[in-house]
Symmetry: C2
Subunit: 300 residues, 2 copies
């Protein structure tokens, strides 16, 4: 296995100006693992309830993702989220969050996963992320994501986690919140001091910025004429990013920049449809075509 992705596996109910879909497959680990699976062999770790039927499991199987790490709680219900996007696609309104099986999640990473060298800790309680990280023997490249809720409520654990991972991902609001700095350069330099090798600030419809040592890489977003459902864009980005890297023989600054582009490609696919449909329907040739598109719109 080239990469393990841990995080949430969820049922989403989503309303956007372009449609309404109920109980569709979602969750941070879902989007990220499916995006990663385009580039390498991925395994997923998470927890679901007995209501997680074959209809959902088959999506992972079709993408050739190892699902041994998805624990099924036979008397539990799958974590679910309901949200609505207005005109501001960056900030959905949460209508309901049902933690269900996530409330008592005690991750047990399968023994077939723990030697894996690439690990993406998608958004979860940072204490659980630390627990999962601790179960891996000697990961070579660990990427971690979070959200505003943990910055407010579990800042200490989150900082402990940042000190132990290689790359950290967050959005602009989150990095400002976490560092108390308005200027993104100053905020990034503050976070990098915890010993990170790199930091990626996700800027939604404006692209992403990667910080590594003293170097900066800025990628604008691809302009899309249809954005149906922005759910999972960040996780798809992260999955594409680490999936591409896990598929290479080495990690260097050139591959890291390319990984940001591939991550962005996967994010654009994710938002073009509801659930993970935009991710699964695009072949590797589509991925490479859009990668070239990024090159075309940014070169000078």
């Amino acid at each position: 296995m080239d990469v393990v992705i841990s995080g949430t596996v969820a049922f989403d109910t989503v309303k956007t100006p372009f449609g309404y879909e109920k109980d569709i497959l979602g969750g941070s680990a879902t989007y990220a693992s499916i995006a990663a699976s385009r580039f390498c062999k991925a395994g997923v770790a998470g927890v679901v309830g007995a209501d997680f039927s074959d209809k959902y499991t088959n999506v992972f199987k079709k993408a050739k993702i190892d699902t041994l790490g998805i624990e099924v709680i036979s008397d539990g219900k799958t974590f679910s989220w309901e949200g609505e996007y207005g005109k501001d696609f960056n900030n959905p309104e949460t209508i309901a969050t049902n933690l269900n099986v996530l409330a008592d999640y005690k991750p047990k990473v399968p023994s077939s996963y723990v030697d894996c060298k690439f690990l993406f800790l998608a958004n979860l309680d940072p204490d659980i992320q630390l627990d999962i990280l601790g179960q891996f023997k000697k990961p070579r490249f660990v990427v971690c994501d979070t959200m505003n809720f943990w910055i407010v409520n579990k800042k200490k654990s989150l900082i402990d986690l940042i000190k132990r991972v290689d790359f950290f991902l967050l959005n602009e609001t989150e990095i400002r919140m976490l560092t108390d700095e308005t200027n993104i350069l100053c905020a990034a330099s503050k976070l990098m001091k915890y010993g990170l090798k790199g930091l990626i600030v996700k800027r939604g419809e404006y692209g992403a910025v990667m910080f590594m040592g003293n170097s900066v890489f800025c990628l604008p977003a691809y302009l899309l004429d249809k954005v149906y459902d922005p759910t999972g864009a960040g996780d798809s980005f992260a999955g594409g990013f680490i999936g591409y890297l896990a598929g290479q023989k080495t990690i260097n600054s050139g591959f890291l920049r390319k990984a940001v582009v591939y991550g962005s490609v996967m994010a654009t696919f994710a938002v073009e449809d509801f659930s993970v449909r935009g991710l699964v329907k695009n072949k590797l040739s589509d991925v490479n075509k859009r990668y070239k598109g990024f090159s075309k719109i940014t070169g000078f």
Copy 2:
């Protein structure tokens, strides 16, 4: 003369979190002509009052800008603007606007200007912009800027103007307002139908997007650790853009992309100090150094 820039020449009083300066040199034509003068011979057209002392005129002279087009109204006062920027550097609060000599401005373009091939119509009442444009004999490349006020109050004149220029500049809020489209791609395609050769959407701290026919060029903004005063960023961008092009032997898509980068370089210099100080203190070698910086942060 390679390029003529018409617009406002003003006294600004500006407060930002980093300082307060009173009656400093400002105005759309000021920023744009000084930025353009880095790349070619520029002339400026506008109107000022008797209070526009040598202290201000000398700034243009030092930049070797032709000021014959600046009309002095001997019994009038120079247009002035007072504004304050809070944390949101994109939307200053206007404290006072005194039109003064601008209220009755009847532009008379000097005969030495009217054969010029490159023209930038910086932000002004679109009827005045049309008047100025009409005084030029056969301009080859006309770029035009505007602001939300004219979109709301003079939409018809503005559309007439758009039909007669080559390139149009505006920011994201303005293009959405003007086209009633939220999606930038759809909004741009709607505006391009008026016969524009190109369209540039300025995105402030997120860079700029240029549309030309079916091609798109996205440039992220340079990350700066100090932004002291964002006034004039858009005009400096426009001045650098057209100034660079006016200095070339031909216009093609490669030069247009480079022009967007040079425009962005000038915008970064403008915001690093109050008034036009950031523009005048940087030499051509500094310009080229930052241009290379853009190339470094965007390449993959």
